[in-house]
């Protein structure tokens, strides 16, 4: 007989009966979450208590010492700084550009749908493809951007600071080296690629948000004497604020999780310039095989991301406007 019928037969209390009915619906998700979300979270914390010996044969229990050491280390702090900088570099410009594009693409012009699709197309690019598209521009030897910069009379920029895999002697090499001392170009480069990718997603999100704003609000503002800029400032932005917030939360989460484009474009370098926390975790765990230290960073990353999201919600509570 069915589970609910059996429960009734044996006069189980109502709560238990309800659980039995609901169980088959919830079980798959619960098992998966348990195995791949909650258990790993706990295990990560636990792994952080152990340090690997130099031969990677045993783990030695060190309690909170590893937490203290890793979190206080300059490498971790620096990777955190890189991550935060990267987040700022990617989320803010992407939001601004996407708002601009979304407003442009929201006009009632014939054929504007074509432009909407074009503006959303970076979304189709995904991580690896974006990296390739930008490598093509920024690559020290085959990148187009440097050619153009040179024609303008400016010195070439070593966007990725890795000197490329130049196969031949390159007349520009001597000029390149003068930029290597500034690793920040690398972070900028990866950020530009990420902004491009984000713009695709944000434009779609913001366009949707724009379309929820009733036309009549704009019309009323026009009759009241508001020009284009006043309409944007007094109608569009306030009504768009929940959507902007949503996009920014998504953007921050993406920035903290960004891995693929960094791996392909710069491999975390040069000199750790693009070594965000995720990348550091990856290197520690899967190149250095120091699972303990890596787990500590993973746990820290989780706490920080959680904190940031909650902070974002709190910061914004009074300011943005929900209907």
């Amino acid at each position: 007989m069915s589970a609910p019928a059996a429960a009734r037969r044996f006069a189980l209390p109502r709560g238990a009966r309800q659980l039995l009915t609901a169980l088959p619906f919830l079980a798959p998700s619960i098992v998966l979450f348990g195995a791949f979300v909650f258990y790993p979270l706990v295990k990560s914390v636990y792994l952080g208590f152990y340090i690997e010996n130099p031969f990677r044969t045993r783990q030695i229990y060190v309690g909170f010492d590893q937490y203290r050491d890793v979190l206080a280390s300059s490498e971790f702090v620096s990777s955190l700084l890189v991550t935060v900088t990267f987040t700022l570099y990617t989320v803010v410009p992407a939001l601004v550009i996407a708002t601009f594009l979304a407003v442009l693409a929201n006009q009632k012009l014939p054929g504007v749908v074509v432009f909407r699709t074009i503006f959303a197309s970076p979304l189709a690019a995904s991580v690896a493809l974006t990296a390739v598209f930008w490598l093509v521009l920024l690559h020290p030897t085959i990148g187009i951007l440097n050619e153009w910069i040179e024609t303008l009379g400016l010195p070439r920029v070593d966007w990725l600071n890795d000197g490329g895999w130049a196969v031949t002697e390159h007349s520009g090499v001597s000029k390149l080296t003068s930029w290597i001392s500034d690793p920040n170009w690398a972070l900028l480069s990866v950020s530009m690629a990420t902004v491009w990718m984000n713009v695709g997603l944000f434009t779609i999100i913001l366009l949707a948000g724009l379309q929820t704003i009733p036309d009549e609000l704009y019309e009323s503002a026009r009759v009241d004497g508001a020009g284009r800029w006043a309409q944007f400032w007094h109608v569009t932005l306030p009504m768009l604020s929940p959507t902007l917030f949503f996009a920014s939360v998504v953007g921050v989460i993406f920035a903290f999780q960004a891995f693929g484009q960094i791996d392909i474009m710069t491999g975390g370098g040069p000199v750790d310039a693009t070594n965000v926390v995720i990348y550091s975790i990856y290197q520690e765990a899967f190149q250095n095989f120091r699972y303990g230290a890596a787990s500590v960073q993973a746990v820290a990353l989780f706490v920080i991301m959680l904190g940031l999201t909650l902070l974002q919600f709190r910061l914004v509570r009074g300011r943005i406007f929900y209907r």
Partner: protein
């Protein structure tokens, strides 16, 4: 053309101009990749980078197929695409099924601890893979699922976001409908299949697009879990190909090839994605 009509188009011209300019800037990296993909490899080995307007386009680069010269030992872009489609497809279907079931329970069934459990489901949205990656990797190793499709999809078959989204949609179904169905003799499963699911079509489409895009975009997990080049997804495969200077033009061609299906997907489902995220308040 009448005078008023002409004036109207003239007034629109700047708007189109700006739109076109933005589109050009946005698409520029794509175009350069495309242009580069049509050059012979020699162009990449000398000083001026390949021109933007190849004089003798080498369309053969697009058909370079698998890897005769050992481009990182990879089987070629069609295989990568196949793998990505399989992996993303399984993940999408998995998420649709698990989240529909769970959302149904949260929306229509009452049981003790429902609130707490739902909060836990939502909390999983806060735990991205990267945080849990080491133990998950160890789990997959322990299951001997490395270098397999199972290993690639397992951690992603359930989704808090999907459960949330579908529950929202289910909640808009009036409870009278369920009452009527119950009086008509529908059990839970039949109600789910014949009433709830069809009515949630929009949310399912949105979730499907979302899940597919996310799965397609994965990089870290496939990198860790697979070593076998035959199992590389598009992300890993293309990424690997960029490490090969002597096949870089073919890598570019492959990138364009990998890009096309996703563009079509985005075009086709742009509306659906947007509408699902914002419920009914989006016009047209």
């Amino acid at each position: 053309m009448s005078d008023a009509l002409l004036r109207r188009w003239l007034r629109r011209a700047p708007a189109y101009g700006v739109l076109a300019l933005c589109a050009a800037v946005l698409l520029f990296p794509l175009y350069v990749t495309f242009a580069n993909s049509l050059h012979p490899i020699a162009e990449f080995l000398q000083d001026p980078p390949p021109s933007l307007f190849p004089s003798h386009p080498q369309w053969g680069n697009y058909f370079a197929g698998g890897d005769e010269q050992g481009g990182s030992g990879g089987p070629g872009v069609t295989r990568y695409l196949f793998n990505s489609v399989v992996v993303a497809g399984i993940i999408t279907i998995g998420q649709l099924v698990t989240s529909t079931l769970a959302a149904y329970a949260f929306a229509f069934l009452r049981f003790p601890g429902r609130g707490v459990l739902f909060a836990l489901f939502l909390a999983t949205m806060m735990v991205p893979l990267e945080v849990a990656v080491i133990p998950n990797f160890q789990t997959i190793q322990w299951l001997h699922w490395t270098d397999s499709y199972q290993g690639l999809v397992a951690p992603f078959l359930a989704t808090g976001f999907g459960t949330f989204l579908l529950r929202q949609y289910f909640l808009t179904i009036p409870s009278e409908l369920k009452d009527a169905a119950e009086m008509d003799g529908y059990g839970e499963y039949r109600f789910l299949l014949h009433v709830a699911v069809p009515l949630a079509g929009g949310a399912l489409a949105t979730l499907a697009v979302f899940a597919f895009l996310q799965a397609w975009n994965q990089y870290l997990w496939p990198l860790l879990v697979t070593n076998d080049p035959d199992l590389r997804t598009v992300q890993i495969g293309i990424g690997a190909e960029t490490q090969e200077p002597f096949r870089i033009n073919i890598a570019f061609a492959n990138t364009i090839i990998a890009f096309l299906p996703m563009v079509l997907l985005v075009i086709a489902f742009q509306r659906s994605l947007v509408r699902g995220l914002f419920g009914g308040s989006v016009k047209g």
